[in-house]
């Protein structure tokens, strides 16, 4: 199945019945798939007039208690940032897919990972966090999209799936595991019409600074809980690794083959792949520093995740960065050369 279509099917199987979106390459197959699939299962697909409207429709639908999704790419996610901030503030669950393309500005339609800062460090205004999941295969995209709805409901927080143009367009076999997908949760806070209970309010306005501070501290506490429970990563380490490649999503696939090649040349290389970009697997990296002689972070950007890698490594070993940007894809040979020069003592 094609990555983008798999995202749509996984969402439907996770109980998502509402999709609001706006076309942008390279994610158009998601709304197109939803426009065919959702009406067949009694759901609603709506092509909004803009990304701004789409995310606010998500806000309304999530507030009304629905499992709801939207998808976009860089420039569209920028427009959605206003709504995402409101959704995070009002503590509404929803899933947002970003099939990242080259930026800034109109950039290109080629794959990139340059929206890492936007996804993990804010994007919109205020003290908030998204859970950001970064799949590396079509199968993982399916599994993570399904998990995303559960995580969103569990914490009443927006969850972002961060893919890229390659993952969206790639065809791979997928298995839709029968999962006892959580029966639609009770959402006693939803605005569904008061009908006998006290009226519910979905809001992000706290005019009294003391009250807003309390709300922000409550959110911070929630983010701490998420950081404790939801960190996901993969470590590929035959047990003797001295050097670690650090990469997520598409670049982690390339780094996997670089790791093998490096071992053929005698470099004991391992791979650390963050699956949650937020919460970031700081501890896994920190642990690796006990034996690691160096880290090479590879990204399709000018260097964004590498800042989190440096935070985790905290000067205990050299951290080198290699990236291609603008829609260019790092080549295994070039990555290997970087690794070799790291091993030879360069930083």
């Amino acid at each position: 199945m094609k990555g983008n279509e798999a995202v749509g099917e996984a969402a439907v199987r996770a109980g998502c019945r509402y999709f609001f979106g706006y076309p942008i390459t390279p994610q158009n197959e998601i709304p197109e798939y939803m426009s065919r699939r959702l009406p067949a299962v009694g759901g609603v697909f709506l092509q909004a007039e803009s990304e701004v409207a789409a995310i606010n429709m998500v806000y309304g639908a999530a507030g009304a208690g629905a499992r709801v999704m939207t998808s976009s790419s860089g420039p569209g996610i920028s427009l959605k940032s206003e709504g995402i901030s409101y959704i995070a503030a009002a503590e509404l669950p929803c899933v947002i897919v970003n099939m990242v393309r080259g930026g800034p500005g109109l950039g290109s339609i080629q794959p990139a990972q340059s929206d890492y800062f936007q996804a993990t460090k804010g994007g919109g205004h205020g003290d908030y966090r998204l859970v950001v999941l970064a799949p590396a295969s079509v199968q993982e995209m399916v599994d993570l999209v399904m998990d995303a709805f559960d995580v969103a409901d569990e914490y009443r927080n927006p969850v972002m799936i961060m893919g890229d143009g390659i993952l969206g367009q790639m065809m791979e076999p997928v298995e839709f595991k029968e999962r006892p997908f959580s029966a639609p949760r009770e959402k006693p806070w939803a605005t569904t019409g008061a009908n006998g209970r006290a009226a519910n309010l979905i809001n992000s306005l706290y005019i009294d600074p003391e009250v807003l501070e309390k709300h922000n501290l409550h959110l911070a506490e929630k983010y701490r809980t998420i950081s404790g429970k939801e960190v996901r990563y993969e470590v590929v380490d035959p047990g003797d690794s001295e050097y670690f490649l650090v990469a997520y999503g598409t670049t982690s696939r390339i780094c996997r083959s670089v790791m093998q090649k490096a071992r053929e040349t005698g470099i004991r290389a391992g791979l650390i792949r963050p699956i949650t970009l937020w919460p970031f697997p700081y501890k896994a990296l920190e642990e690796a520093t006990r034996r690691a002689k160096g880290f090479l972070t590879v990204e399709m950007s000018c260097g964004q995740m590498v800042e989190d890698v440096r935070l985790a490594v905290c000067g205990r070993a050299p951290v080198r960065f290699y990236g291609r940007t603008g829609g260019m894809i790092p080549q295994p040979q070039a990555i290997l050369e970087q690794l070799v020069s790291l091993v030879e003592g360069g930083v």
């Binding site: 606010n56 429709m57 309304g60 639908a61 009304a64 206003e82 008061a194 006998g196 009226a199 309010l201």
Partner: protein, 238 residues
């Protein structure tokens, strides 16, 4: 309505408009299944006054939020309450497209010819020559363009089922406003399409006029630009 003191300035007709919406909801007996959306602007706290479920929306985005709710809960009654800065400026795209799609929602649109909450800047509905804090010499069309007639503009859209403009400047017009709001909700309940009532309202604080003089200003200055009446009404609701 909840038994609480409203935050609006003395004499402001936001309070009357709220009261009319509340009376209509009670008359129709729909409080248990109504969801309101409050805007950004002086009416941001509308949720404190109506005893129904509410969502607060970002500036101008209420029609999109209403769309999301209504698509999930088509048998509920969904209304937004928005000012002219909210609806006619930052939220023009959202209101035009909600109307064009024929979303079965009801919009109460408060036209007071200024931005109230942010202290009296020009709105898209500000009259030519009107002095505001950002048109200190009066609105000059060569620099600041012309007022937008939202009701007329939306009435051209096929998805709009009921569009009316009313005013609150005297008791007879308040009674007419109530009838229009009642109709707008009925149109939604009959699934006929999008309904909007534009309400000419006063902002004594930012107009720098006493409430009585403000009401007179509506009659003499606003109504010639913003003609009252029903622009579109389906046969089903008379």
């Amino acid at each position: 309505m909840k038994d609480v003191v409203m935050h609006y300035c003395p004499g402001c007709t936001h309070g009357i408009a709220h009261r009319l919406v509340g009376e209509v909801i009670d008359e129709l007996g729909i409080a248990a299944k109504t969801i309101g959306i409050s805007p950004v602007g002086c009416a941001v706290f509308a949720y404190n006054y109506f005893n129904v479920d509410f969502q607060q929306a970002a500036h101008g985005r209420a029609p999109a939020v209403a769309t999301g709710i209504k698509r999930v809960l088509p048998d509920r009654v969904v209304f937004s309450y928005q000012g002219d800065g909210d609806l006619a400026s930052i939220g023009t795209a959202e209101i035009v497209h909600a109307a064009a799609r024929g979303e079965k929602i009801t919009v109460v649109f408060i036209n007071n010819a200024v931005y109230g909450m942010t202290s009296g800047q020009m709105a898209p509905t500000t009259l030519l020559g009107q002095v505001t804090t950002t048109t200190p010499g009066g609105r000059d069309p060569s620099r600041a363009g012309y007022p937008i007639r939202i009701a007329e503009m939306l009435a051209t859209l096929d998805g709009a089922a009921y569009i009316a403009r009313v005013s609150l400047h005297n008791p007879a017009n308040v009674a007419r406003a109530r009838r229009a709001i009642l109709k707008a909700f009925k149109v939604q309940m009959l699934d006929l399409g999008f309904s909007l009532v534009e309400v000419l309202s006063i902002c004594p604080t930012n107009w720098g006029l006493a409430p009585q003089a403000s009401l007179k200003w509506v009659e003499e200055m606003m109504i010639p630009t913003f003609t009252l009446g029903e622009l579109k009404s389906p046969a089903e609701v008379g």
